[in-house]
Symmetry: C2
């Protein structure tokens, strides 16, 4: 699964590598995607802890950077690639990924975001789900498509760009576009 992706990791191959019968493997996992999911969750266990005493932008940067390191430097990267492939045709895997991976992680990130709002670091009235995606989706995108590297400074750059905005003159942008209401 790590080297050949999901197509190479047949239940036969998994049983052979484990030195167990295929019946034994099927007794515990209904599919090879389920094996991948358990392997992935095992590798990422404990990666949700956030250091205390960080501002919201610092904590979000820390989280994105942890995700980059997990995907880029550990076997969780190829396992996530196998899982997203399986999830496109297997609703159970898609649901399990949302419930056991994306959901818990997003809950932690949302609490960071909201604490930032309470502390006056971040505006209120924003689209929280869209913010999550604008910070974390790029990491998955680069893992799945390989169009750009998961570089060491990516997390800090993305948080900085989203925090400060990319408009040259914020007031002029607001006046021209009518897109934003500062709350």
């Amino acid at each position: 699964m790590l080297t050949g992706g999901l197509p190479a990791a047949t239940m036969d191959a998994i049983a052979a590598r484990a030195g167990a019968s295929k019946a034994t493997i099927y007794k515990w996992w209904p599919s090879r995607a389920a094996v991948a999911l358990d392997g992935f969750l095992d590798r990422v266990a404990g990666t949700l802890a956030i250091p205390p005493a960080m501002s919201a932008p610092q904590a979000l940067t820390w989280q994105i950077d942890a995700l980059i390191q997990i995907f880029r430097d550990t076997t969780a990267g190829p396992l996530m690639r196998a899982l997203v492939a399986a999830a496109q045709a297997d609703p159970d895997i898609a649901q399990a990924l949302r419930d056991q991976w994306l959901g818990p992680r997003r809950a932690v990130s949302l609490e960071i975001l909201r604490s930032g709002v309470r502390r006056g670091e971040i505006r209120s009235g924003l689209d929280e789900e869209a913010i999550m995606d604008q910070l974390f989706a790029p990491v998955y995108h680069r893992l799945f498509f390989g169009h750009a590297p998961m570089s060491d400074d990516l997390a800090a750059i993305m948080v900085a760009q989203l925090m400060a905005g990319i408009a040259l003159l914020l007031g002029a942008y607001l006046a021209i576009s009518g897109l934003v209401r500062l709350s």
Copy 2:
């Protein structure tokens, strides 16, 4: 492929649906993923045109919105899901997706971004690749994981949040974080 994903679309099934022999299908396409790629590119042909006389934020919003509509409302959505699944274990498909889909689209978006910098709408010195991902990756992320809807206002919200930033007080944020240098 549209209803059962890549696993259901065997070359046998494709040949049967097309009323052709499997040999004929293989003559033109080396794999079912290659069939999916041609089908996808056929459906999205001509979706790169940008209306003239738009500001950079307007044009980027227009582009993201077009992508959302393509993925949400046409068969290009399920085809892209089949393609990303195939790309995780098939480097040829991954390369073709980068060369024939992501690359040309990003080139157009980059030119929009740079014209925005030239016109004074957007700051210079930003990470262009990261901006592209912070605007477009969320659409793919929602297509692949289904954790949040591709809503009608998503494009405008994401552009607004990235243009104006999410910090409550930009100056205070800059001073606290030291993350950003305004160019």
